[in-house]
Symmetry: C2
Subunit: 159 residues, 2 copies
Amino acid sequence: MGPQDHCGELLLQLSSTGSVIRAVKRELRPGAPRGGFALLGMLSRCGDLRVGEVAELFEVDMSVASRHVADLEEHGWAERTPNPHDRRSWYVRLTPAGERMAQQRLAQAREVLADALEDWSDADIAALTDLLARLRTSFDARRVRTSDLSRTASGAKGL
Amino acid sequence: MGPQDHCGELLLQLSSTGSVIRAVKRELRPGAPRGGFALLGMLSRCGDLRVGEVAELFEVDMSVASRHVADLEEHGWAERTPNPHDRRSWYVRLTPAGERMAQQRLAQAREVLADALEDWSDADIAALTDLLARLRTSFDARRVRTSDLSRTASGAKGL
DNA sequence: TATTGTTATACTCTATAACTATA
DNA sequence: TATAGTTATAGAGTATAACAATA
């Protein structure tokens, strides 16, 4: 009883979400490389971002973000502009070609999703979207909480 | 307008689910290897499964399932028993040690999740769980639909 | 000394293809 | 000939650590 049990079920469903994401990726038309798809979308939405900001948004190590950005740059989909206030960092933004690619990929993925969810009501789709956003928010909040605690304690990493 | 736009938003949220899963995994106490965590849970819930069934449930290639099962076996968490009706295949099941490990890992992950969702109502947790289950179901149905089409066309692999 | 970012290295997960052994 | 499963190999993705440049 209690929320613990509900969390057990939720955990299992979250695990299986990986299958869904993999299924969508598999179906994206080949030819357009899939690497950095999520990053393309993020840059399209957010505009200029520093590498460190990318790492934070995706909750990955900065080395990972750095490599993904370099990958986009090699393909001509992103470019760096210097940060006038701090010469250590650069701003990353999409090129016009990158923006086109981002839109195209998003449309493809959306098509796959819309096809699978053809019998869903708009309300249910919106509900799932909102709950997932809340989930992400709750985890971000917990991360802040945890790192605060470990800072207070001494150095021992949390939990 | 239309459900297409809703799907675009949902897509972005689904992508970010990866961050949440990664966050949970990162926090699982080290010492217990993380590889095959989901498989441990699946075997604990479903009992005996063939390798091919594992592959189907996780929507991965059979070679992937085979390697994960071998990994569990090497750690002494799973064992194979012959299938009396078909000597090509074996049944995979958890050993008592594997069952203990599954329970322990599930409890740890559940704890992390419950901590992050401390301010969620039971109803919201249940709602998210149900919607994710429906999402998975819808994608499975779509997969069947799609492969039916290709089967009609020529005679491809079933389900 | 701390921070931003890159590179080198290794590990995990996954897919493809070639292979075996049964059916 | 087809199917269940394994293994070899390759390709993404990620984390850790060592490093360079700037603050």
